[in-house]
Subunit: 366 residues, 2 copies
DNA sequence: GTGAAAGCGCTAACAT
DNA sequence: ATGTTAGCGCTTTCAC
């Protein structure tokens, strides 16, 4: 039985491995390949209903699935977009990746994931490879002030949506930016601290070289100046960019929290550049014997899942990830659907202050 | 000048958009396409050193980059692997994705990201699409006890490495499993609690239907039985699978923590199925007025970045993500490099107990 | 050592 | 309404 069955079984296996082609479907349905192709490509009107039915049945019966590589080679199109993030190990980027993947999938697109670790070289090289792969649309979460390193690709027709960054003067004309309104968010956060009565305030961040962080710094300083806080009571604690990668946001916060709270005249409130850093500040303050929110108020930015779980639950500025992911994909889709030139733009989504338990009036002594 | 320059400029642009082909390189170097191809495919020995140099220079000068779609169509190979995780929004999976992407990249592979939300249908459909894309190697973080839904794909030659799951009797013969040793980890955790003197212990988890969780439950029960803890003092709190997705691990922990600590006879120690759940338990216990570790010891599993940042820092069982990612990719690479049949196997990486501050002896009353 | 040529599976312009 | 056909860019046997 084994021996007799083998030839047939083998041929079936081979067919499966090799894949059913459009020619086989055409032959099975008694039509030409172009008719099958027409049906597959949304042109069912070009054939008789009866023909259409025969083709559909043949496709079904044979389990035909188009070969994407062949489609891509022929049309130059591919339903994959690239996502470049600093690191998906960072829960914020992980959550963003999840949302973006969701909207992309709902439009029939797959997502190729790249972690840049905020390295411009790596970023450029990665995107060049995405180009080689045939990918013509990329969501770049870079925050680098200059996108010069990508100029050649963009000139060739790469659709690029920059996330978490606003438009800069030197940007490519067609660039689309999607971002939370960082300045507004930072102002919201700082004003909250101010309204609680804080007069000695620190901003804690890693490198401030990125666009979004510069904006947050700007919003912070605007609010602080408007409140006429003397300069000596405002400290901007910024870790060296090379020293702390994205993964270490928490570690950086921990060090900052410790340093700041060990100083002679510690701040009574800290605005952390993001939630991971804020959580690190909790730990650092604790190490230095300070208690949140009694001795120190901490406010974050992002509203990651953990913000609400922390002890105390973290007051923060929420970025609406679902909306931002939808905006980013929507813009990218527009960009790559038809390659007719389209002016660049920036889309700023307004953030929202979420008050929890990590902020309180300053201690009497402060 | 503009008008005179235009034709040339235009042709340059067109070349860039269309991409340089191997024929153009061949012509520029005065050789045939096959010689260029031979060089590109690691067969430089088939030509004279002088020829080789000419070709290399032509490639350089023209900025030639192979068209991957054409390569794929011709060879059937593609340097992309798929990663299917429940959700990268979960920091554990985000971190794993980051590590896997790193090792894949170092071998010249890209990573296509898929979030299954632990839905078997979605999982299967996703992997079928990966197959259509030409992807022949997938790391599946599924934990579903049965991989029957993937049997057809595997039979066709899909290379599959199942992560976070151990081999089951009904598994496809060629399946490779990579996982932490869950039973050992759970025993380690439980023994730690026991050695601290706890005698009323709970296990908190979402659905226990997955292989890895079943193993953890098994390790837990083995340890608890060995210590002769009476059955009534051991509670297994398991949330309905449909109710809580992966994102909600923390929320589930919160509910469990609250419920358990509000009971007449609350446990003095909880083993959480993972760190996110453990962090949720912190919050739930707090809601119920219980203090970790004074009233309640909590131990987690995974050792995510946040474990060390939590208050108190979480005692947990560490999975070595770098090693596990390397093992997963290495196995997958073996699987897809040559398609000669290869027996299935399970690779279990031993976890490590990391004692921090969330575990302590039980309160005197307990 | 090098080149010619076939064809991977598909699409779309162009026949009929 | 349906079919014929010419490639997309590459690899690889087979000649020379």
């Amino acid at each position: 039985m084994v021996l007799r069955g083998q030839p047939i079984h083998c041929s079936v296996t081979m067919a499966a491995v090799k894949g059913v082609t459009i020619y086989e479907v055409a032959r099975a349905a008694g039509v030409s390949p172009s008719t099958v192709s027409n049906l597959l490509n949304g042109r069912p009107g070009r054939m008789l209903p009866a023909t259409r039915l025969r083709v559909e049945q043949a496709i079904e019966r044979l389990g035909y699935r188009p070969n994407r590589a062949a489609q891509q080679l022929r049309t130059g199109r591919i339903r994959v977009i690239g996502l470049v993030v600093p690191s998906v190990a960072n829960p914020f980027w992980g959550a963003f990746a999840r949302h973006l993947e969701g909207v992309a999938l709902s439009e029939g697109y797959h997502l190729l994931l790249c972690n840049s670790e905020r390295d411009p070289d790596r970023e450029r090289q990665y995107i060049e490879e995405l180009w080689d792969d045939g990918i013509r649309g990329v969501v770049l979460c870079s925050s680098l002030p200059s996108l010069d390193h990508l100029q050649p690709l963009i000139a060739r027709g790469l659709g690029l949506v920059a996330f978490d960054r606003t438009s800069q003067a030197g940007d490519p004309a067609s660039l689309v930016n999607v971002s939370v309104d960082n300045a507004v968010g930072a102002s919201l956060a700082t004003q909250h601290l101010l309204s609680l009565g804080h007069r000695r305030i620190a901003l804690v961040s890693g490198s401030l070289a990125s666009v979004n962080r510069a904006e947050r710094l700007h919003g912070f300083q605007t609010a602080v100046r408007a409140a006429r806080i003397p300069k000596r009571d405002v400290v901007v604690w910024s870790g060296a960019s090379s020293q702390y990668g994205d993964l270490d946001a928490a570690e950086l916060g921990r060090r900052a929290g410790h340093e700041l709270m060990s100083a002679r005249r510690p701040p009574t409130a800290i605005f952390a550049i993001n939630d991971m850093t804020a959580l690190g500040i909790y730990a650092g303050a604790r190490d230095a014997g300070a208690h949140v929110p009694v001795d120190l108020s901490v406010i974050g930015f992002d509203d990651i899942v953990l913000a609400d779980l922390a002890a105390p639950p973290l007051t923060t500025v929420r970025q609406s990830l679902p909306e931002m992911a939808a905006a980013a994909f929507g813009q990218l889709h527009e960009l790559i659907k038809d390659s007719s030139p389209r002016p660049g733009r920036s889309i700023l989504i307004r953030p929202e202050l979420v008050v929890r338990k990590s902020t309180a009036p300053p201690p009497p002594a402060g």
